[in-house]
Symmetry: C2
Subunit: 143 residues, 2 copies
DNA sequence: TTGCGTGCAAAGGTTTTGCATGGCA
DNA sequence: TGCCATGCAAAACCTTTGCACGCAA
């Protein structure tokens, strides 16, 4: 993981500002671009991609790509939440991201490291599936 | 999930044949196209996508979207193998994809369903981290 | 004959890249 | 001043779509 070297530019500042303000949700390049343009401080698409790459590279932002069609999602990593210590669940229906603090699950790391020689990076790993709300909604639909 | 209705065409046959022959690995449209072309029985890209969609639709093939850049991966579902869904490990360093058949890990599903009300879709879930080869290589680098 | 399947090319969308210019340190 | 960052446009990719023609049933 690289360090956050580089110049401080208006674009970089605006982008980071937006990401931090929206750290509780996933966002994407289109959204960022639209917002910054609306704010009167537009930033070129290429620049957004390049800066996001760096932020991902130095561990400040998490990148999710689960569907090539909709494009990648990005989210600022809230240090105070200690996201390296737990897994994430993402609902494929409503897009909700769930932070999962569970000691039982953290045992997965050890198991896989021991039995499969593979070291998992929880901050990059997301379980995809369907959350309880959406399961309930589906059930209601059928009845 | 739909049924496998439709005509039997040369293209469909060739595609399915390729998928079955390579059921132990993930493949993608580019690979399929290249192979069929090399075989002297080329199939149009659009047709491959359309047929794959149908196969996914009727549950014969699983589709993976790891990261938008490399495009989606497809794999024939081997019914006979009692090939329950398994998880995948993807090495962030060398990009290797590891299929992980492990009963212990499948217990995760039950745990999360029971304790967290969330139903995981293993076909969409990938553990990211570092494989044993790359861990070894890193160790060697440092020494 | 009917209507789905196919191939081609074009379109769509996301992400990357080349290159000249701009701006931080 | 020396680089890195930016912006624009073009390119690169993956995937979908429109349309005329082909082919299975």
């Amino acid at each position: 993981m690289k360090r956050d070297s580089g110049y401080n530019t208006r674009q970089k500042e605006k982008l980071l500002d937006y990401l931090i303000r929206n750290k509780e949700k996933h966002t994407n390049v289109q959204e960022i671009s639209a917002f910054l343009t609306a704010e009167g401080t537009p930033v070129g698409t290429a620049t957004i991609y390049r800066q996001l790459d760096k932020l991902v590279e130095c561990g400040k932002v998490r990148k999710y790509s689960f569907d090539g069609k909709t494009g990648a999602c990005y989210q600022f990593i809230d240090e105070s939440k200690d996201c390296h210590e737990h897994f994430h669940l993402k609902c494929l229906h409503c897009g909700k991201l769930i932070h999962l603090d569970c000691d039982h699950l953290m045992g997965i790391n050890e198991h896989i490291a021991e039995h499969h020689g593979f070291v998992i990076d929880p901050s990059q790993t997301v379980f995809y599936g369907c959350c309880s709300d959406c399961l309930q909604a589906e059930k209601d639909d059928r009845s």
